[in-house]
């Protein structure tokens, strides 16, 4: 049968606040276990939560970024369950009155098509701690550093139809939240964690099939693999006449499979009720308006501006506008070198390529925007060729200095002295009488092809530094002269 895939995603996004959502403890990643957990985070007797205003601001920024209704009154609830890394025995979350209501954003697929994906809601809640099963023989360690880190849980509509769409959704979301500056989006450190709700239905059917939820998938690649795997698993069940069980599954990246965690029948009754230690969050429309006025430019708008102002292709604009650090870097290069197109090429091909090969992030790049722009200026003013430029860039990457000093030290400046070039052209013509004869015997089309051979030899002789335009002119002239001699 032909199955339609229906996917909804729940993303738990850690917000980039300095301190926790309900306490003053720091939220830095990677600290020694339990050094960033205060009495509130440890749920010591009598301790009370105090809401971090910055977390509310970030949630509102997200809501505005997806065109959502902002809940001017939202309510925190207690979600009750026992777990060692949940110190209070309940998680403070938002259940019936979330801070961000219905919204949407557009995703772009690789074939260039655009789909609008609905967001059901987004609500604030606190993260749990971590259970550490390694290093403790027959025991479990608890690290509460993460407990109380603010999370925004972003729930999509079941609008996604494939793994590709799911990944595009996550990438767009990542680009949005990092552009807003409300999360570092670092998936490896768990800043963005994804639960996948997936079901299948016969193509054309309107009713939803029974779904399974795959918990805590923490990279784009794993999301893609987990979805492919789950589609196959459910299709096998349905095609064998079976029924999908509504349950929570875990994606095991090592074995590339999903497996059952617990079925919903034995799931917790969370006994949600309004958190009596916190008042309802009431925010003023004027506050929302002031946040709206101070929002940074969002990726979608930036992309349009890059197309309009810099004449970039849709593809280049999408890549360069997606993440704010890269967009800022690109715009700085444009500003300092004055040419948007060469900047777009170099940032995408050379810079991103080197970063990838060296496994570095943009802010670890040994070449900053100004340095790259200085190099591009030397290409633009004809001091060096693009090809030499790559050599210079590699030297800059290796820390040998700025573009000008490398060009100087290695003597890479382009040779534009006609006397020197003329001598090189003559030498190549003298050394290759056979090719010259072939050239002279050939028709116009074939001549063009053959002239490439001479140019190559001359560039080799000049160690790539000959001005290509001048080489062409001089070569054509000398070959024409050679033909003239032959005739007489």
């Amino acid at each position: 049968m032909n199955w339609e895939v229906v996917i909804g995603l729940e993303v738990h996004l850690q917000l980039a606040t300095e301190s926790k959502i309900f306490s003053g403890a720091a939220t830095r990643f990677g600290a020694e276990p339990n050094t960033q957990a205060c009495a509130v985070d440890l749920a010591m007797p009598g301790m009370l939560p105090v809401l971090n205003e910055q977390a509310v601001r970030y949630a509102v920024m997200f809501g505005l970024g997806i065109g959502a209704e902002i809940g001017l009154r939202s309510v925190f609830d207690r979600k009750n369950y026992f777990y060692p890394d949940l110190p209070k025995g309940y998680q403070i979350s938002q259940f019936q009155e979330p801070i961000v209501g219905r919204g949407h954003f557009d995703i772009q697929l690789e074939d260039g098509s655009v789909r609008r994906i609905g967001i059901t809601r987004a609500h604030l809640e606190e993260d749990a701690g971590k259970s550490l099963h390694e290093d403790f023989h027959n025991q479990t360690g608890i690290d509460l550093n993460r407990a109380g880190t603010p999370l925004l849980e972003i729930v999509s509509e079941p609008d996604l139809r494939s793994a590709e769409e799911a990944v595009a959704y996550l990438k767009t979301l990542h680009s949005l939240v990092t552009s807003l500056g409300i999360s570092d989006g670092n998936m490896a450190e768990g800043s963005m964690r994804c639960d996948i709700n997936l079901s299948l239905r016969p193509a054309g059917s309107e009713t939803l099939g029974t779904r399974a939820e795959i918990k805590n998938v923490n990279s784009f690649r794993f999301v893609e693999k987990a979805i492919h795997h789950e589609i196959e698993r459910q299709a096998d069940i349905l095609e064998a006449g079976g029924q999908v069980v509504q349950e929570t599954r875990l994606y095991d990246a090592e074995r590339d499979e999903t497996r059952s965690m617990r079925s919903k029948e034995v799931a917790n009754d969370y006994r949600y009720f309004p958190e009596p230690d916190l008042l309802p969050v009431v925010i003023e429309q004027s506050w929302v308006d002031s946040i709206r006025a101070s929002l940074p430019e969002l990726p979608a708008a930036k992309r349009e501006r890059f197309i309009a102002d810099y004449g970039l292709s849709a593809y280049d604009a999408t890549v360069l506008a997606a993440e704010r650090p890269l967009a800022d870097f690109y715009e700085a290069v444009v500003k300092h070198c004055g040419d948007a197109k060469i900047a777009a090429n170099w940032v995408q091909v050379e810079l991103l390529g080197q970063l990838n090969r060296s496994d570095l992030t943009l802010n670890e790049s040994p070449v900053d925007a100004q340095a790259l722009a200085a190099l591009l200026q030397r290409i633009l003013d004809g001091s060096i060729s693009g090809k030499i430029g790559k050599q210079v860039f590699e030297a800059m990457w290796a820390g040998e200095g700025d573009a000008d000093s490398i060009i100087e030290a290695r003597g890479l400046r382009q040779v534009s002295d006609s006397g020197a070039l003329e001598a090189m052209v003559s030498e190549v013509i003298r050394a290759n009488p056979e090719q010259v004869a072939q050239y002279l015997a050939a028709d116009e089309n074939r001549r063009k092809k053959l002239s490439g051979f001479f140019v190559g030899q001359i560039m080799k002789l000049s160690k790539g530094q000959a001005n290509p335009q001048m080489v062409n002119d001089l070569l054509n002239q000398q070959l024409a002269d050679a033909g003239g001699h032959g005739d007489t």
Partner: protein, 485 residues
């Protein structure tokens, strides 16, 4: 020395009649000799008290003037005290020494009070008799075969027995007022949000409120002055301006309109108790107050409403006691589930377990709307009853309890009979109002408490009325027999 009021003690300390150290030694001596018959203290901190007294004496010698500087006091063992065990009357926290102070504790420490120790209470403040304590029952100083009331029974008994001039209590459904009434002292439950709950072990968060217990309204006002106010670390504490609660004490009562709710003078009220209440009201009338018949029509719903909301909140507030990070942990747990179940089974007493079960049920899927949501709706009606009444009267008065202190063990096997003890006090917590219990004489040799209920944040008015009553009566000065030492 132990019969002096707080204002008199403060004056004597300032004028060097005696030092805080001498006063503290005197109180500690009384605790040592008398408390074995009352069991009002769980922990006595002699060394800490003497050190605090020495610090207070140094401040006094330097000319400092604080109203509570050098005054001994006791905290209900529900307020966290840095470095001093805070048990909440439970085996669960028998080994718990907080590394922090409650806001109330800190404010009173800073004010230079001398903490003698921590008083006995119903386990996690769940009870009306102080009999559910892991540390055994507290006994009523007026009759040691009877209960002192609860849950702040230890504080009430200690003040009544003149072991300490001041104590803190907490009141979730009557836990300051009912023991104050049973022990013949003055107790004030402030408006919800008036006193910080930070560091006060939570029972039912939307109802809990700390407040003063003392022999007179004036002493209560002095203590309230030190602990009232906004606490940025308690989101439910109020920014409503704090006044000097002693400033209005001497205002005459001329023109005061006192509402008497019909529902508080009905069938359940013990006749002798009712007589004492009417006698006290007559005294207020003589001072110029007018008594007005009013109705609070939803009163009878306050018991079922309270016994849904309070256990519901308690059931999740007490989830943190899981044996993982602090508190009681069972021996040799086999696995996580065993650790949870046995730690909680062995660490909590019966009444706590009963309320956790009731609360868990009330919040369960499928029952939430019928119980918790409905209870919150009724709670709004109860609150509205009071707001309507306060449109016509300045304060409301009635008995604090249906009758005087009952015998130890008389109601322990009948939780419902125990819950009825709170019939007149629960509605005040549901409505978030301030209320007091003031001594109104004795019935059959046992103290009776007059309850005064005020509009939100009108503690000053309640203290004024109580103080005026105490100018023309000596009920608050009467002490139980057997307390001299």
């Amino acid at each position: 020395m132990h019969d002096l009021s707080v204002a008199e003690l403060a004056h004597a300390l300032r004028s060097r009649e005696f030092t805080s150290t001498e006063l503290t030694r005197h109180c500690l001596q009384r605790v040592r000799s008398l408390d074995p018959q009352y069991n009002s203290f769980i922990t006595v901190d002699e060394a800490g008290a003497l050190a605090a007294a020495a610090r207070a004496d140094a401040r006094l010698a330097a000319g400092e003037q604080g109203a509570l500087l050098g005054i001994p006091l006791a905290h209900k063992d529900i307020f966290c005290t840095m470095g001093l065990r805070t048990s909440c009357g439970s085996k669960m926290l028998d080994n718990f020494v907080p590394p922090y102070d409650a806001t109330v504790t800190r404010l009173l420490r800073d004010a230079g009070t001398v903490l003698l120790g921590k008083t006995n209470m119903d386990e996690f403040a769940m009870g009306s008799s102080s009999e559910t304590s892991f540390y055994g029952s507290t006994r009523n100083p007026w009759d040691t075969t009877r209960v002192p009331g609860g849950s702040s029974g230890g504080s009430a008994a200690a003040v009544a027995a003149r072991l300490v001039p001041l104590a803190t209590g907490t009141d979730t459904g009557g836990s300051i007022r009912q023991p104050a009434a049973f022990c013949g002292i003055t107790g004030l439950k402030p408006t919800y949000g008036r006193v910080s709950r930070l560091g006060m072990v939570a029972y039912a968060s939307s109802l809990d409120q700390g407040g003063p217990m003392a022999r007179s309204a004036e002493d209560c006002a002095l203590l309230l002055n030190a602990i009232a106010g906004l606490d940025p670390l308690d989101s439910t504490s109020s920014a409503h301006p704090v006044e000097d609660y002693t400033a209005q004490l001497s205002q005459p009562l001329t023109g005061l309109r006192i509402g008497l709710p019909r529902e508080y003078f009905g069938d359940g009220l013990d006749t002798a108790t009712g007589d004492r209440i009417h006698a006290a009201l007559a005294l207020l009338e003589q001072q110029g107050a007018t008594l007005v018949d009013i109705t609070l029509p939803h009163t009878e719903l306050s018991i079922p409403t309270y016994y849904i909301i309070a256990p519901a909140e308690a059931s999740t507030n007490l989830s943190r006691y899981d044996g993982v990070r602090y508190g009681y942990r069972c021996e040799a747990p086999r696995d996580l589930h065993d650790l949870y179940t046995r730690s909680r089974q062995e660490g909590f007493g019966d009444e706590v377990k009963r309320r956790i079960l009731v609360g868990t049920f009330a919040l369960s899927a499928g029952y939430y709307d019928a119980y918790y949501r409905k209870a919150q709706q009724v709670r709004r009606l109860i609150r509205q009853d009071f707001l309507d009444a306060f449109a016509n009267v300045d304060i409301i008065a009635g008995p604090t309890t249906p009758g005087p202190a009952f015998g130890l063990g008389a109601k322990t096997s009948d939780p419902l009979a125990m819950y009825l003890e709170d019939a007149y006090t629960l509605a005040v917590n549901l409505a978030g109002l301030p209320a007091m219990s003031v001594p109104a004489g004795q019935a059959d040799g046992l103290p009776v408490g007059l309850q005064l209920i005020g509009p939100h944040f009108d503690e000053a008015r309640l203290l004024n009325v109580a103080h005026q009553l105490q100018q023309v009566s000596d009920w608050h000065r009467q002490s139980p027999g057997g307390t001299s030492a």
